[in-house]
Symmetry: C2
Subunit: 648 residues, 2 copies
């Protein structure tokens, strides 16, 4: 018998420590996982519970071994079910919906526990397609049909030659004053729309991003509604679509490529909330600056990026739930054959999983705070855009690392499709490049820290350098502690950890500004100066995002009333902080922020916090409240662990 | 036009540097990629070239979108083709083969550029199955049929309950003196054979690892030949087989589970080169020690592990070739729309790919040296086993990291199956856990460094501690430099880099031995003492393997005559060393091995070496000499980059 029951009263250690391995002390009050779930769900508990219940219905059971086409039909069916439940209308403005953006993103987040093709399909249909019409157009009559999935739609932004560089898209929408129409054209092959979800099979209407040309003038990228197929699924004249083909994952999404061969649509097909062509064929816009207009135009992506971030947190939670439960069942090696030890009792296993669990809690709080701020916005906010970009990039990277750790921690079992970790890996892999390539987004974050997006990059760098130099002095004297070698402070203290993270960020921004200024002063263009120090730019983005995630975790814990819940969250927060400091131990020492002795203390702290939390890890993952049928992995469900015949 | 031709005379920078980004200087003599190929291929050039030619044949073209069953038949067909070409007999002893183990492993290595299911299937059939019979049995008549694939076979070692812990397998082979037979039995469900390649569909005979029971005595794990299916594919009586089902990757391999319900085989089915049952039913063995017998028994795995390591290097080469070629075609962003810049010119892109390229060269030399030493062995060598375990673990981790970097560096394109990076990712993912879980193997390495596998672990630790303390003193005074802050040496110097890597390893071994000794002295069992410091154990394994890989790289470069080839290899070696030091910068500073100033110099060195080598990276990947049809990815082949229709 090498199994133990998974369902246990709270966090009683399930552990036969054998030999003489000293038991981890249970120094802390036991927490109630249900109270922890309440703390995690926060104000979006109702929609989250509603989604959990919905996904637990039998029709959402997974089916394995489908080919690509069957998979797409299954996902379309599931998306229809979400539409029937009204999920598609949650974010849309009245009278088409509830105008509750926060609840919508939270609902999508729960989809991250289920099939990621479903999340992507729903996100394209209800988020990007309907969202673009709601945000950029006055043609709101389409919204009802979009929310009900009567009108499947596509969001045709990306081109083959321009993945991340939306500003330089080459598809054109040329105004023909004679017929009062717009002519949509793909000027050459690299300007085909690429990787467009809902394009290969189901989409009937597309929001197409194209350069608006009136006479000889290029008014920049605008969005135009262009029919793709009729009700019977026949592709519209002048439109050419091919299937993007088999992918590593997300094969339930019908990605396709689209070419437009002088397709004519009425002038009013231009989504015209921000800009329009008037009756005399003149370009009219609410927004003067073409730059600002561009960023408003692509603002639709912000919600998408936040959703991908939220879903990534859910993916990490699912993977950890499966791996941690397995680690509480599976025994391997031991002092002698009869006494093999549970995986969770091995320090290497704890170190592999627990820091990832702590970071998953951290990202949960950071994403929830972002969703709330995003939902309460009355107009665009650049600060939200930047947070969305940064959290999307680092939450998706975190999710991938976590799934990989879970895959390796579940061994060959984790490689089987039924155990779901491997397919999470394949599906979520594209998260690092879709909805904005992570490396590009990380650079956006740093640019905004330096300049507020001014086009006069070189001048503002000077300003930034000056400002940050001042802040740096303040930081060095007040916030950032240098710990003398013989008197290390408590390395788990939140102020101490935050001081280090803040100090690193300010130092790196300051040094970056100085490096760019030096180059600009010597006559190098701002673009080249920024590019030459790209590594430093990416390091700043990471430091910035880790700091805001840490702060969000601290703020989240501060709101928890129940002492036992707060206590375990404090330890997770401490582990997250210590682990992030450990990951950059070279930098902290190199820059005089940590003595060797304190560095050693941080290293030890990560090990001991991980060991302590390992004893409670079953409750910590169960608090994620993922429905069993959605989790589904046989290795995560105790009663399924011995399904096969027993030989006589 | 955003493409440039891929095929260029040597390493002329294909780069429109635009703006004012300072061009990377071409300070070095141009090398001839063909000369580099010769240096890489070394003594195994003939078999490598033969394999490249074979895999270039039209029948080895990839077919996408196959279901699992079609995929298996395709891979069986390919394996048959390898058998026809005599690949299966290369390693087998005369008269069944050429007895050339080095050539066989090198041939398998080239399969790493092609379908990894094919590598796995061929490895199971010709390596594990035929290899076990050749090594452990006197029943050599099976070898001809195994090498020709007339007799597809399985290597049934792993059990569900015992993935890595082979010594505790529970399947039994009980001798029945009355009928002079062995009775093979699966005592309970967790003892079923699991994940066995060739089991679900094609295998007819299996080498089954089971505890040999004679009377009441357990003689430990032995290998027995057990029929699985007859010629017509009907499963043998008493054998129960199920399909392991869909996996994340390697779906061309028919993995299955096997139960034995008192299956009777003749006494002579025991593979009897090492141990046998004599005519009077007594156990007789050449090897006295049951422990030594066990390690000889599982020695078959050594060749498998070396092959997986060699294949991992090939996978990394393929992924890098695709990503580097794409980076020389793909433009993104720029100072203005008309002047977008090639990806390879971005420092972040260089930092993402070039250290991985340098490490791939390093692992190439390390694996080739291991193959040579393995091939020249006349009997078992524990040192080879340990090197195989360590290189398997860290080469597979390196390959996965590299493929992931290539995946992200090729964006959405890299997610499409036709571009092959994503499926390499899915297929190679299991390399970290199959043929020995990496974490388990890494611990084996450290154990052997401490003890020479003595069962008297606690005593030998004392010995080891003493020995290493002495070596440490020598190292600190002679080899390991401490660089004063104001006079950093050349951080690219091989002696300096090697000194740091050796110093780290010795320091960590010494500290580990002391920590274990302290625990053992206080009465903790050796097993528990070792387990408590598991993190440290894994760090030692990494430090050890990185050091031997570095040394192999240095030795490999030393053999190269041509100055231009040697020069570029020296820079790759310097980048590998600097990057490995950078990755552990925290440790080196924490332990007084690097000053802050030198740490900064190392950081800068990685950036500048990567930038310099980026200009030559196209030749560096082309030197891997992967046939175009095997590479296949459209994004890696210039003429395929604009295949679709051009819109009018």
């Amino acid at each position: 018998m090498t199994e133990t029951a998974l369902v246990q009263p709270h966090s009683a250690p399930s552990v036969d420590r054998g030999g003489g391995l000293r038991a981890i002390e249970q120094r802390h009050a036991r927490f109630d996982p249900r109270a922890l779930t309440v703390a995690l769900d926060g104000r979006y508990a109702p929609i989250r519970n509603r989604m959990r219940a919905l996904l637990s219905e039998p029709e959402f059971a997974y089916r394995y071994g489908l080919d690509r086409h069957e998979d797409r039909e299954q996902v379309l069916e599931w998306t229809r079910r979400l539409a029937q439940e009204g999920i598609g209308r949650i974010a849309l403005p009245a009278p088409y919906g509830d105008g509750n953006v926060g609840a919508f993103v939270s609902a999508l987040g729960i989809l991250g526990h289920h099939d990621l093709s479903l999340f992507t399909k729903a996100g394209v249909q209800f988020g990007l397609f309907a969202g673009a019409i709601a945000r950029l157009g006055t043609q709101k009559t389409y919204l009802a049909a979009a929310a009900s999935l009567e009108l499947p739609g596509a969001f045709a932004m990306t081109e083959t030659g321009h993945g991340s560089n939306v500003r330089d898209l080459e598809t054109t929408a040329t105004y023909d004053a004679v017929t009062d129409e717009l002519i949509i054209a793909t000027p050459h092959d690299r300007a085909r729309k690429d990787y467009i979800g809902n394009a290969a099979a189901h989409g009937r209407l597309a929001v197409v991003f194209a350069r608006l040309m009136i006479g000889s003038e290029d008014h920049g990228v605008h969005a135009v509604l262009v029919p793709l197929r009729d009700r019977r699924g026949r592709v519209a004249p002048g439109v050419h679509i091919t299937d993007a083909g088999e992918k590593e994952g997300l094969n339930g999404v019908d990605n396709g490529r689209i070419w437009f061969d002088d397709v004519r649509v009425p002038r009013t097909a231009l989504l015209d909330a921000l800009s329009r062509i008037d009756h005399e064929g003149r370009f009219v816009s609410e927004i003067e600056s073409s730059n600002r207009r561009f960023f408003t135009m692509i603002g639709t992506l912000v919600g998408g990026r936040i959703s991908v971030g939220a879903v990534s947190v859910s993916v990490a939670k699912s993977a950890l739930t499966i791996a941690v439960r397995y680690a509480h069942c599976r025994r391997q090696f031991g002092p002698d054959p009869g006494r093999e030890r549970l995986l969770i009792d091995y320090p290497a296993h704890q170190r592999r999983l627990l820091p990832k669990l702590a970071a998953t809690y951290a990202y949960h709080f950071a994403l929830d705070a972002l969703v709330e701020d995003f939902a309460s916005l009355t107009d665009d906010s650049q600060a939200i855009e930047i947070r969305a970009a940064g959290l999307k990039a680092f939450a998706t990277w975190h999710a991938l690392d976590t799934v990989q750790a879970a895959r390796e921690a579940t061994g060959g079992q984790g490689y089987l499709t039924v155990n779901r970790v491997a397919s999470m890996r394949s599906d979520a892999d594209v998260f690092t490049t879709y909805e904005g390539d992570n490396t590009v987004l990380a650079q956006l974050v740093t640019k905004s820290l330096l300049t507020d997006f001014s086009e006069q990059f070189s001048r503002s760098v000077l300003v930034a350098a000056g400002r940050y130099a001042l802040r740096r002095i303040a930081a060095l004297t007040e916030t950032v502690p240098f710990v003398p070698a013989r008197r290390p402070r408590n390395v788990e203290d939140p102020d101490w950890q935050l001081g280090l993270l803040r100090g690193r960020e300010l130092h790196q921004i300051d040094a970056l500004a100085a490096r760019i200024k030096k180059r600009v002063d010597s006559g190098i263009s701002a673009f080249d100066a920024f590019t030459e120090v790209q590594d430093h730019v990416l390091a700043v983005a990471r430091s910035h995002v880790e700091r805001i995630v840490y702060e969000a975790f601290v703020a989240g814990v501060a709101e928890v009333q129940d002492p036992a819940t707060a206590d375990v969250l404090q330890r997770l927060r401490a582990l997250f902080g210590a682990d992030r400091i450990l990951a950059d131990l070279g930098w902290f020492q190199e820059h005089g922020r940590l003595s060797a002795k304190t560095a050693t203390a941080v290293r030890k702290s990560v090990g001991s916090l991980a060991a302590g939390l390992a004893a409670e890890s079953l409750d910590l993952v169960n608090a994620f409240a993922i429905p069993e049928s959605v989790l589904a992995a046989p290795i995560a469900i105790s009663s399924n662990n011995d399904t096969r015949k027993t030989a006589s």
